[in-house]
């Protein structure tokens, strides 16, 4: 197992190098360092001196990949790519183009992101599994049909609608929660109630249908028929047999998503004023802050790789027949 994990980590390293290179190429294909400087400095009358100073302070006055004027290895190391992207491989995120410590920012913003993402994930998973099990329990009845239709309706509506409708209903009409905002401590529950609810509802339709399909597939198998023939209660058949055996595909989606919870939600955080990593990334993209963009893309890729490895490990726990090769 350790060899397998090490091998996967090695593959992950090469993937990260590739992601790093791709991010760099894509970013600088669209933006020149001059563009970045102009946008970062902002305001009227941006002088060329100010642009040159901005670039030189941040090392964007160097060539992108090859420094023809440098000697020996400096030809490759005294470049924007090397100085900006290689330290990432040691998780040295450095400073944003505005001069702020990215590692410090990530540390500060991870908590609000998790505060939103974790309950949304756990409660959402619970709600989706419970709802799909309910539909499977009542399969073939009018309740099942109504439930499936309900799922289709939920799937057909944009996530943005849930946010706006949620704010209209809960914050404006009923006045139960604030429109947006965030505070530390237990009081954060007031601020997170609505975004978590919206997060759950917006994933309920698609995931419930998916899980329902998985459960129904299991429900048609021989071992389930055998269990029923033995006179087992439907509740036991569902929870002890069907749910357990349908866990494998569920694990694929859920365990690999766990590390990504740290990355926050791009849209929800913006709408609900939660100062997490999602809004941090969006702000960086809008500001063309390459340092933050590459750091967040790198972090996201690294977490995704970790998530996939965790998912692989979780297979062996869920299904003893699976072994690492």
């Amino acid at each position: 197992m350790i060899r397998y994990i090490l091998r996967r980590l090695l593959y992950g390293f090469f993937i990260l190098v590739g992601v790093n290179l791709l991010t760099f190429v894509l970013f600088f294909a669209v933006n020149t360092p001059d563009d970045m400087a102009r946008l970062a400095i902002g305001g009227q009358r941006v002088s060329q001196d100010a642009i040159e100073k901005w670039k030189s302070e941040r090392g964007y006055d160097k060539p992108l990949f090859v420094n023809a004027q440098a000697q020996d290895s400096a030809k490759w190391t005294d470049t924007i790519f090397y100085t900006r992207s290689v330290p990432l491989l040691t998780f040295d995120f450095g400073f944003s183009d505005e001069g702020r410590d990215i590692g410090h920012e990530i540390g500060q913003r991870m908590v609000p992101s998790l505060a939103l993402a974790l309950p949304t994930f756990v409660l959402g998973l619970f709600a989706c599994v419970a709802f799909s099990l309910l539909l499977v329990f009542f399969r073939g009845t009018s309740l099942d049909l109504a439930g499936v239709m309900f799922c289709v309706v939920l799937m057909s509506i944009s996530g943005l609608f849930y946010i706006i409708a949620g704010q209209w209903l809960f914050a404006k009409m009923w006045r139960w929660v604030p429109y947006s905002g965030y505070v530390e401590g237990w009081d954060m529950v007031r601020f997170l109630f609505l975004p978590v609810l919206v997060g759950i509802v917006s994933r309920l339709g698609a995931e419930s249908r998916f899980y329902r399909a998985l459960f129904l597939e299991e429900a048609g198998k021989d071992y389930v028929r055998t269990a029923r023939a033995k006179g087992m209660a439907e509740r036991i058949v569902l929870f002890r047999h069907i749910l357990r055996n349908a866990m494998l595909p569920i694990l694929t989606g859920t365990v690999s998503a766990i590390p990504l919870l740290f990355m926050g939600s791009l849209i929800s955080e913006s709408f609900f004023g939660i100062p997490g990593l999602g809004s941090y990334t969006i702000d960086a993209i809008n500001a063309q802050d390459f340092s933050i963009v590459r750091a967040m893309v790198f972090l996201g890729s690294a977490l995704y790789i970790v998530g996939l490895i965790l998912a692989d490990i979780s297979y062996t726990l869920a299904d003893p027949r699976i072994r690492f090769n």
């Binding site: 946008l39 100073k53 001069g99 009409m173 947006s180 609900f272 004023g273």
Partner: protein, 731 residues
């Protein structure tokens, strides 16, 4: 399920008993305090260093923290300068090239140097700041910092000790020197280098020193040791600024934070190792003498200004426009400012929560520095009686004003089709083409559709509120508008078609080749399919000319403008100061973007216009200057390098408990004038935000019904058998 419902009900009862609204985003007591709540919508201010700050979203902070010598009177219109830290708004003394004193009305050409001797009020003190903290021996407490002393310090509140000292003229000198420093690279250096004696050379000397001294890039460059002839301290409270020639507009620059003082100790403090890594700099933690100081700063989340305990308390103005008294804007005449103790700026990226919270009373003003929300609410109130009734019921004050800014549609002077290129005949034809297009574009319709009537179509490059502006009908653009029965009306399309034909495009086709005339509009955003672009296409289609949209992102658009490869484009300008010079310089030849990298984006060049501009810039406000402005406006109306587009209105939206509110895009130090009534706010917010718990019962009922249905179905399924019960056979 029953237990869960019981818990929900108990929770609802508990919260319902709370004396504070449960949807409040603040601490329970916050609304009863003398705090003004407002929002910022995009991101935190990038530059709070007065030498670098040049964006309007930074001004609520910079103009509340820093104090330039002058400021604009808050209430009077047209705008009038008043002293801020200066004792008075001074009249410069003029000298000729031989150093002889000239009369005040000496012709500008004779003036070699204008000298401004500005007296600074004594007793003004800087806000409390660690850079000014001294130990028992009178040595700086936080300089030099020892290793580890900066650990865990990310804001000014993390420093235990602070200090203050009196503002002296040398602080202004230091700030002016920073504008020329290569370490700062101020955006205004290029402008000031043209006008302030020795400034360009001083900048070069600093550059040379930095290059030759081998000083590390992050080491402090002590500017006190460099002589600068242009700006000097004559004594502790007298600042002398020498301006090249006569430049009457210079006084306005003294009302901008570029000329605000900086204590040298602050720059030395922030240049210490580790400060930049902890995000501690003048850009993030400013040091000023103004009514407020930055006491909390959480980037892209929240910023808090609190009252500067050492602020002297400037008196509230007693004069204003005639309607100001009726609006209650003179009630605080003479009272010391600021009135509000604390101002909280909270990030709201989306307009739905921002407006929602404003209507619930959780924001006192939606945004300080921008007027869009006020304009949008005025439009909404005009469109919907329901909205108008709601705003009326909530007592929201919606005030508007036309500001010194505009949006224009420019033609590139270097373009062979619409510009001033080729033979005399070709250039004349191109001029007629521009005039034809100017008639075809119905800007009144544009204002009605895209600005909801909250703007006015412009007739020239000088907007209202600026001396030299001529109201209608005198100021009409005679190329585009007729005067019919005393009413200004847009010329009909037949005249546009005739001009088009004279330009060599009869019925929109090239007279020589027969090809249709296709013009290009270079758009700075979108994919070329927005309603506004469609509207533009329709305007040109009305004279049978086709318009192609070349959509690009803003970076590429700026590249095109710098290279002069755009044909038609739209751009705007917000005045630095309320003087016609600040608008007409956008058409001054030596300011051309392509040739000189200036702000003349259409690269317009007309020797006569340039000559008049050079003459006009020396003149003080008055009839002679107005006559020159009129002449220059007439030239550009004929040449039509721009369609003059529209002048948007600025609007303010204020809660009923906000006092002394008057919208303005020119006056930037507005925070100190606002007054709030926290008791009224707390009362109204409670009144408007009583939770409607009745819905909870409906929800609980729905859940109970669902639970019952599920339980019933479950029971039925449990009792069901595979086969139907056998029926009794009758004998």
């Amino acid at each position: 399920m029953v237990r869960f419902l019981a818990m929900l009900v108990a929770l609802a009862c508990l919260t319902a008993c709370s004396p504070h609204p449960v949807n409040s985003p603040y601490d329970p007591e916050a609304l009863a305090q003398n705090t003004l709540f407002t929002a910022f919508t995009q991101r935190s201010p990038k530059h709070l260093d007065p030498a670098r700050s040049y964006s309007s979203d930074e001004t609520p902070f910079t103009y509340s923290i820093y104090e330039p010598p002058y400021a604009y009177d808050y209430l009077r219109r047209p705008y009038v300068l008043k002293p801020k830290t200066a004792v008075e708004v001074v009249t410069p003394r003029y000298y000729d090239a031989q150093g002889n004193v000239l009369a005040e009305d000496a012709p500008g050409e004779q003036v070699a140097v204008s000298v401004y001797d500005i007296r600074i009020k004594p007793g003004i003190r800087f806000q409390p700041h660690p850079s000014l903290a001294l130990d028992g021996e009178g040595k700086p407490r936080y300089w030099p910092l020892k290793e580890g002393e900066l650990d865990g310090k990310y804001g000014m509140a993390d420093f235990e000790h602070t200090g203050t000292r009196e503002l002296v003229a040398d602080d202004y000198v230091y700030a002016w020197k920073r504008l020329a420093s290569p370490r700062v690279a101020s955006p205004i250096f290029g402008v000031f280098a043209e006008h302030v004696v020795d400034m360009r050379d001083f900048g070069e000397r600093l550059k040379r020193h930095v290059r030759e001294s081998g000083l590390p890039a992050d080491a402090w460059l002590d500017l006190r040791s460099f002589d600068f002839e242009g700006v000097q301290a004559m004594d502790d409270h007298t600042l002398r600024i020498k301006v090249i020639g006569k430049y009457p507009q210079f006084k306005y620059w003294l009302a901008m934070t570029f000329s605000a003082p900086i204590p040298w100790e602050a720059e030395r403090f922030y240049s210490q190792p580790g400060m930049a890594e902890h995000d501690l700099s003048l850009n993030t933690w400013p040091v000023g003498t103004g009514p407020y100081m930055l006491s909390e700063s959480w980037v892209n989340r929240r910023h808090v200004l609190t009252r500067n305990p050492y602020f002297r308390g400037e008196p509230y103005p007693c004069k204003g426009e005639p309607r100001d008294e009726a609006d209650g804007l003179l009630a605080d005449c003479g009272k010391p400012m600021p009135f509000v103790d604390r101002v909280e700026f909270i990030l709201e990226k989306e307009s739905v929560p921002l407006m929602g919270k404003f209507l619930q009373g959780y924001y006192d003003i939606p945004q300080i520095e921008r007027g869009e929300y006020g304009v949008a609410m005025r439009v909404a109130a005009g469109d919907s009686s329901e909205k108008a009734a709601l705003y009326n019921e909530r007592g929201i004050l919606l005030r508007s004003a036309t500001e010194a800014q505009y949006f224009y549609l420019g033609f590139n002077w270097l373009d062979p089709v619409v510009g001033d290129v080729g033979s005399e005949e070709r250039r004349e034809k191109n001029r007629k083409l521009r005039q034809a297009i100017s008639i075809a574009f119905d800007w009144e319709q544009f204002v009605s559709i895209f600005q909801d009537g909250e703007a006015q179509a412009s007739h020239g490059p000088v907007p209202p509120g600026v001396p030299g502006y001529e109201p209608l009908p005198q100021g009409r653009n005679p190329v585009v508008y007729d005067l019919v029965d005393g009413r200004v009306t847009r010329r009909d399309l037949d005249q546009a078609r005739r001009l088009l034909s004279e330009a060599g495009y009869p019925d929109g086709r090239d007279a020589k080749t027969g090809r249709p005339l296709i013009l290009n509009y270079d758009s700075a955003g979108g994919m070329g399919s927005s309603a506004m672009l469609d509207w533009m296409r329709r305007q040109l289609a009305s004279i049978n000319v086709q318009l192609e949209i070349r959509a690009t992102d803003y970076n590429r658009f700026q590249d095109k403008m710098r290279q002069g490869s755009a044909q038609m484009f739209m751009w705007g300008w917000l005045a630095d100061y309320p003087d016609a010079e600040n608008f007409l310089f956008l058409l001054y030849g030596p300011n051309g973007k392509v040739k000189h990298g200036g702000e003349n984006a259409s690269n317009y060049e007309n020797p006569e216009f340039d000559r008049l501009f050079e003459k006009m810039r020396f003149l003080d406000d008055g009839p002679e200057k107005n006559a020159l402005i009129k002449e220059m406006v007439g030239i550009v109306q004929q040449d039509a390098p721009w369609m003059f587009g529209y002048i948007p209105k600025s609007g303010g939206a204020y809660q009923q408990w906000v006092g002394n509110a008057k919208p303005s895009q020119m006056v930037r130090d507005t925070l100190q004038y606002y007054r709030i009534d926290p008791a009224l706010r707390a009362q109204k917010v409670k009144e408007w935000n009583t939770p409607r718990w009745g819905a909870l019962w409906w929800l609980a009922g729905l859940l109970a019904l669902l639970a019952w249905a599920v339980a019933r179905l479950t029971r039925r399924r449990a009792r069901a058998t595979a086969l139907a019960a056998p029926t009794e056979e009758r004998p």
